[in-house]
């Protein structure tokens, strides 16, 4: 019984750590995907972009990146808040 409780306790600890580390990697992944979309399709917002052939050849496969980019752009004014939340800064 005690062993089972201990095992559950450690499982809970592990899943908390897993959850936190995944959260950090997910945030990093979102930003990388956002940067990728911005680089490939940056000409939409006036950024220098690769030769048009490269952008157009990649465009059909960029659904997720475009979605991430538009979601991030929606909350650009509160990026500091998001980062503070991620690192538990009150």
């Amino acid at each position: 019984m005690v062993l089972k409780k201990l095992s559950d306790f450690f499982d809970a600890i592990v899943s908390i750590f897993k959850g936190r580390s995944v959260e950090y990697i997910e945030a990093e992944l979102r930003e990388l995907e956002n940067v990728f979309a911005l680089i490939v399709l940056g000409s939409f917002i006036g950024l220098p972009s690769p030769p048009s052939t490269i952008s157009l050849r990649l465009l059909p496969y960029m659904g997720r990146e475009l979605l991430v980019m538009s979601r991030i752009s929606e909350r650009l004014d509160d990026m500091l808040g998001e980062m503070a939340g991620l690192f538990d800064i009150a």
Binding site: K18, I39, P51, T53, R64
Partner: protein
């Protein structure tokens, strides 16, 4: 392997005449030559005194010429791009907005991209396989545009390399998250769920980037291979073309395109110099000295100012003799 020759220089110095005469020279030596005009000004047909077009025209034994239809080439390139965009954003047709996509034709860089694709098409069609020509000669547009065309594979490869690195970083993180959580990534777009690729094998973006890398590497290798490719600068014996050639050669060196010869066209060679032409001859000597000083690595070939305009095969055969040193 098919040799590739680019004739470059300032507008009006005699690129087309030199490219045509070189082609005649090699054809007379028994080499199978294709000469292609990429210059929108299109003088190649005028130089050969015959009408040329997009389809190869036989000019003499072993010599065939093409004059690329510039408008058609850009239209074809844009049509392919526009069709792709219209395919992806097909719903724009509902609002009749698709016509606005046609504005692409005015976007910067289209001329260079279309020209490069034409070069790739010609080299692939006529420079590979059993029926390949021995030499493909390109008569190019004036220096500025030609340099941008030739730099395009290098520039594209820099972008592609960066994007590949970034893509690998993305895939690595997706894989890490997936292995920690034990779940596959999914994304919902327009009500449908899609699996998100987590490895290079299943990622279409990574595959497309590798395909682009292969394509640009192929043409870049062809353009920079000193065993098969050479750029030949054409100038007049005047200071401005020499300075422009100097800058062009330096730029081509940076992108590893081999430049081998310097043709000085229209050199005044007079037995007795009339008094009013004396300053001109002095300036010519200054320009030639400058060319030797600024471009020491290039073999110089002089073509004299001829008594007749070098038009038609007979006159070109005369000019061709001067160009024998170019392999």
């Amino acid at each position: 392997m098919t040799l590739i020759r680019f004739f470059l220089g300032k507008g009006g110095v005699g690129k087309t005449t030199s490219a045509a005469a070189y082609s005649v020279n090699k054809a007379l030596q028994g080499k199978r030559v294709l000469v292609v005009s990429l210059d929108p000004a299109h003088n190649l047909g005028d130089v050969f005194d015959t009408e040329l077009g997009d389809d190869p025209v036989k000019l003499m034994d072993n010599l065939v010429a093409i004059e690329v239809d510039y408008d058609k080439m850009i239209k074809k390139h844009l049509k392919e791009l526009t069709e792709k965009i219209k395919d992806i954003y097909g719903y724009l047709k509902i609002f009749n907005l698709d016509k606005y996509v046609d504005v692409l034709k005015h976007s910067p860089g289209v001329e260079e991209q279309a020209s490069l694709e034409k070069i790739i098409e010609i080299v692939r069609k006529y420079g590979v396989g059993d029926k390949a020509f021995d030499i493909i000669v390109f008569d190019t547009p004036p220096t500025g545009l030609t340099l941008r065309i030739m730099a395009l594979p290098t520039i594209s490869l820099i972008w592609i390399e960066r994007l590949i690195k970034l893509r690998l970083a993305i895939l690595e993180r997706r894989k890490t998250i997936s292995s920690i959580t034990g779940e596959r990534f999914e994304i919902e777009i327009a009500g449908r769920k899609f699996k998100v690729p987590i490895s290079v094998k299943e990622d279409p973006i990574f595959k497309e980037l590798m395909k682009l890398k292969d394509e640009y590497n192929w043409i870049n290798k062809r353009l920079t291979d000193p065993n098969t490719t050479a750029a030949i600068m054409v100038i007049n014996p005047e200071t401005l073309p020499v300075l422009e050639a100097y800058r062009a050669v330096n730029f081509l060196k940076k992108i590893n395109v081999p430049v081998t010869h310097l043709i000085v066209n229209k050199v005044l060679e007079l037995d007795t110099v009339p008094e009013r032409l004396r300053p001109r001859i002095e300036e010519q000597e200054i320009a030639l000295a400058l060319a030797r000083e600024k471009l020491p690595g290039l073999e110089m070939i002089k073509i004299p100012y001829l008594e007749r305009e070098p038009r038609g095969l007979q006159m070109l055969k005369r000019v061709a003799e001067y160009l024998s040193p170019i392999p």
